[in-house]
Symmetry: C2
Subunit: 350 residues, 2 copies
Amino acid sequence: MSLSNKSTSSNSQDVKQVVSEQNVNQTALAGLLSSYHELNPSCVDELHEEPSALEFMRYVARNRPFVVRGAAVDWKAFLKWDAEYLLNTMGSEKINVAITPFGNADAVVFQGNIPVFIKPYETSEAFDQALGYIQQQEDSGQGQSEVKYLQTQNDNLRNEYEMLFADVPKSIPFARIALEQQHPDAVNFWLGNSHSVTSLHKDNYENVYVQIRGQKHFVLLSPVETACVNEKPLPAATYERRHTTESSGEVALSLRIDELAEKVPVAIWDPDAPDHNATPMSHLAQPLRVTLNEGDMLYLPALWYHKVSQSCGNQGYCCAVNYWYDMDFGGDFWAASKFIRDVALQTADK
Amino acid sequence: MSLSNKSTSSNSQDVKQVVSEQNVNQTALAGLLSSYHELNPSCVDELHEEPSALEFMRYVARNRPFVVRGAAVDWKAFLKWDAEYLLNTMGSEKINVAITPFGNADAVVFQGNIPVFIKPYETSEAFDQALGYIQQQEDSGQGQSEVKYLQTQNDNLRNEYEMLFADVPKSIPFARIALEQQHPDAVNFWLGNSHSVTSLHKDNYENVYVQIRGQKHFVLLSPVETACVNEKPLPAATYERRHTTESSGEVALSLRIDELAEKVPVAIWDPDAPDHNATPMSHLAQPLRVTLNEGDMLYLPALWYHKVSQSCGNQGYCCAVNYWYDMDFGGDFWAASKFIRDVALQTADK
Ligand SMILES: O=C(O)CCC(=O)C(=O)O
Ligand SMILES: O=C(O)CCC(=O)C(=O)O
């Protein structure tokens, strides 16, 4: 809200009230952040075996993440998913590939001064070709060419990658029992290299994420930290492959605004560049950082903001599996989280 | 906030903003209430046996109440606590009695136009005398004399009423296991008649409440409904017994303001008189009502507002036991509930 000095004495009272109302919401939001951080540890709990359903439910009740080190070391996937096995199993099966110029799928890019939310170019390729490309790019360190990420997030492990699904549990026992869901809503397969970064976002799901090859680096923010992430309704855009000139055979990725798409709120603050696009609250965030090594499992609670990057070791690819269980919209968690976000958005608007 | 018409054209923009900011918080609070009510049942779940620790934890996670019909029908207390047994066991043991003129302990009373928060006159009496008084008052229907309630809420069943503690479980198994607390923080004994009403308030405890004799009528409001209950910081007062005139031997209860006591926020809206002391949000409350019959158990989740009244049947007294377990201040529940209350209080201030 802009407050000029032009107010006459007759309205200075009103103007003070405007300022104080805005302050009051900001004070309440700051109080929320400080009490949350006082009452909660500043790191992710580490377990060394899977929790029981009851132990898990205690984490769900608190909406707090944990990592189970080595939870998947007995999984067939952990024992077998080397490149050779993946190639033998998937061969030249057609699969969906997300392609971006910089590994920035579902990210914010600036068109001049205007931020837009960009979705990857999606196309179909043979699995063996895509894996070869990803590994070769990792080995050569060639970040300048197109970055490919196999990450459709549409239950692809029970569909496109069905042949690999036998190598992982159909469901995660503690989550199945605690959440009373016989099957997860989606089981996703992720394969990429260190050039792909998933930008800060949240999902309406309870997420059990298991690293199979390479490492994943998670940066996590609780839903109560919504006032820190600077969500803005951005125009949506998609990468397209176009010929660089009319005559040439060369193609390059360029951006097309989806004129008809509704604007969706996107977090434009990046906890790894905290001085840019910050809100007055961003410096009060206390991001949790955790790295998953091969065989580790993360419980990422519903509505937590997460940014995810990866490193690949000598296999030239990172690969993971995750289980999305429906979150519980009952009780007060969802309604209260939405309320905090509503107040944060309207306070930022001023 | 009062908005006069005196604002000049130069500041009408600011004034509009004041109004819209206030509206915006009210809209957010109304949105919270409507999404909460859309996503949750409008009645208390009824179980017919005690839940497992895991089932209980699902209720804790949602912060939702339930009642278990007949949960205590095997308890010694349920089988034995008739007047004769109580008198034989407690005899003329001295116990603490809360005395009020109208059964209104911890309630709001008006001193002229000024609301104050009144605490009962507390004194020590022989158990047999107090019980006799309570029963006789109930039988005679004489509401006009002093009302007595045995309700110290200070773990009295493990202290003053120790001789009765053997007749109830030391802890409630599902709560002990789920909440990882070997012993409750307090176990309270309540004995009174239909003239006592406990006014709307909340506690920082997970509460398991068990009715032994008579009926209890609970009116419940979720912590997200805080904007409906009109909490106001009130001066505290206590009932005192004073001689009615200097010379007479007669005593009567009168009110003394505790000048040194800090003002504490007290809910002044009563869901049973919804048109009085209402906030602009009160009509959006959806109070849950549940009656406990003899042997029934209620899980009353932490921070829920509750108003409690009772009826006694032919025994002439109502008697109950409750277990307070520490609530979990971790996770986001406590911090988020406090935030909603902060916004509600400041919006009401305008
Ligand atoms: O692994 C990634 O790149 C992102 C994971 C993610 O966003 C999710 O599991 O929801
Ligand atoms: O039984 C009553 O009168 C009140 C009960 C109560 O407020 C409680 O258990 O916290």
